[in-house]
Symmetry: C2
Subunit: 428 residues, 2 copies
Amino acid sequence: MLDRSATEAGSIEALMAAIGQRARRAARSLATAPTEAKNAALEAMADSILQARDTILSENRADIERAKESGMAASFIDRLTLDEARLGAIADGIRAVAALPDPVGATIAAWERPNGLRIERVRTPLGVVGVIYESRPNVTADAGALCLKSGNAVILRGGSDSARSSAAIHAALVAGLVHAGLPEDAIQIVPSTDRAAVGEMLKGLGGAIDVIVPRGGRSLVARVQDEARVPVFAHLEGLCHVYVDGAADLEMAIDVVVNSKMRRTGICGAAETLLVDRAAANTHLLPILEALRTAGCEIRATDEVRQRYPTAEPAGEEDFDTEYLDAIISVALVDGVDGAIAHIERHSSHHTEAVVTANEAVAAAFFAGVDSAILLHNASTQFADGGEFGMGAEIGIATGKMHARGPVGVEQLTSFNYRVRGTGQTRP
Amino acid sequence: MLDRSATEAGSIEALMAAIGQRARRAARSLATAPTEAKNAALEAMADSILQARDTILSENRADIERAKESGMAASFIDRLTLDEARLGAIADGIRAVAALPDPVGATIAAWERPNGLRIERVRTPLGVVGVIYESRPNVTADAGALCLKSGNAVILRGGSDSARSSAAIHAALVAGLVHAGLPEDAIQIVPSTDRAAVGEMLKGLGGAIDVIVPRGGRSLVARVQDEARVPVFAHLEGLCHVYVDGAADLEMAIDVVVNSKMRRTGICGAAETLLVDRAAANTHLLPILEALRTAGCEIRATDEVRQRYPTAEPAGEEDFDTEYLDAIISVALVDGVDGAIAHIERHSSHHTEAVVTANEAVAAAFFAGVDSAILLHNASTQFADGGEFGMGAEIGIATGKMHARGPVGVEQLTSFNYRVRGTGQTRP
């Protein structure tokens, strides 16, 4: 995958700067691309992916072969693997994005001033989005589609492990762009596995990049926080909590807690901590813990909880700060909703938290007092997902508070500006 | 102003960390403060400022004395100076913020999913805002009021030149907070003139700061870009353009251009470059340049323009990248709106640009093709102001594309989160 000519020419810097310039040029053209052209490109991309299935799957097998030879773990290889069904899902995802309303050019607000100036706040693309990701070849297609629909050019830098799969998918995406008469550079893949390429993107490619979306593990997140000189959609951990209140319906609490933890343990919306109201310790705690254990979950709990449920492992303080991404949950008793809020304030990653209660005042206090991107009342934390929210697709879930919070979909990949119409007004 | 106990204790770091923690505690309480309490505090602040006028003006005279002794320029001293009228304007500004709708808790969007989940996107405070500014003591009051209204705690770090004035204003603000039962730490002033205090803020005070607002000149902007590890509302230069199209009404063009440049030359919304359609060179160029010259403006122009208007100074290429903040304007001819767009793309700071034309298609092309925060058709660039937009007041004009673009008022100092209400739904 290494671009020999660039390295012979002397620098990753030059390669990346050129990619940035091409992306900027493409972005200028995409900013005014008609919705019909973008949708035609997306439909053509979905078709191309299916037509190129043999090539894509063959390239994917080569990536898997290399990963196996390197001794990668089974879960890693699973994230890497494509098959007919997953390709079909990728194509469906692209078509779902095509079906979304086009946010670009939409008027968010409009008003008239006493002096007759008519002001509109209008959605615009962000410009150039840089996506840095690991393993999952589907991100190539998802991110490409979302950015195109929102009028942005995208620069994709996937992991080396999925390089051949991503390149094959990228070729199908470009075929779709060409079919609709849109610039090929709307979606670029970084053809270098040199680590320095990521560093260049984090510096912004000389002003070419408007925002970075990092999709990866702790070391990527740490590198981004350390080196990024451009805005980033922070996608940190999902250390999600479920608080079961004294006024919770027991059956509902069992269903919500078990689903929140066990439906899929490896996603960011999986619950990692269960907080039970001390007032419900005698009624709700044991049935919920038994249901979790029956579902295959390991319980790690405070001494107080273990006195009631001795089969639990002891939880150290660090367990309440750990995103397990596994069938393990930390459990503690708290003093009502205020105690839950205080615990969450100390340990949360501000992603997603749920409260189970029939008491509206408790739910309202929880909603007002907890500062996370997604708050749920009487529903599973596993709903923390752009598709579940009806946003069609997402490029990730942002945990930061600037610009976008929660699922980052097409609408969140836009900015806005003000368009002021006058009749010659001057300011006194 | 130096906090001796902190330096004796050993570090600015510790002082700043403590300020950050106090701000975070105050922010938690402000997030749920009733609108009435915030408005009562604001009204009390405005009253306190007027009641404390003698003290504030006396402290201001001390700052001015020191500035004069240091040989500061007249314009600098003017930015520093308070008088009865300016204090009155500060108090009025605070009352204007009190009169604004409270954005916190407002439902931005609401929808229901097929599975019955009801989702709302709701405005929340950002949390803790850090403002780093120079000279202008009014920023102490403006920023304090805007942050309070939007439910944020604020940490203010003004320049040492206005330290005594700012401290006196701050005391009045705190009196208002106390009167309404709100935490004193909602508005904190950094009591140290040590440069390191700014560095600590830019690093985020250990996670306490959510966003930085820098209000200052190039060296502050450069330092922020270099050292900031938290989100920043980029407030870069205002290298604003006015494009006079061939289809522009001549009288309107003269009025708009002269007002854009000369109403107040030192503000970010002042026009720095005039672009005239080559098709209007024989009809519009000279009358506009004459009007500018009569108003006291120095003209710097390309050779092409100077051939028609020899009294103009020659413009070097760097003149088109210069924010003069003075009675000087750069002038060039361009090939219609496409030429104007291309020039602006190369030189703009993405702040504010205006087009004068009677041709709707030209205006539409300008609006679609220029990527700046504020675009005006047939109106002066000097309207680039939160007050003129009807936003009450602003903490600055953001030129970046993330989160807020253009005037940053109360609404822009908020984030949002999702509140999902269910009846026990679990995800399949």
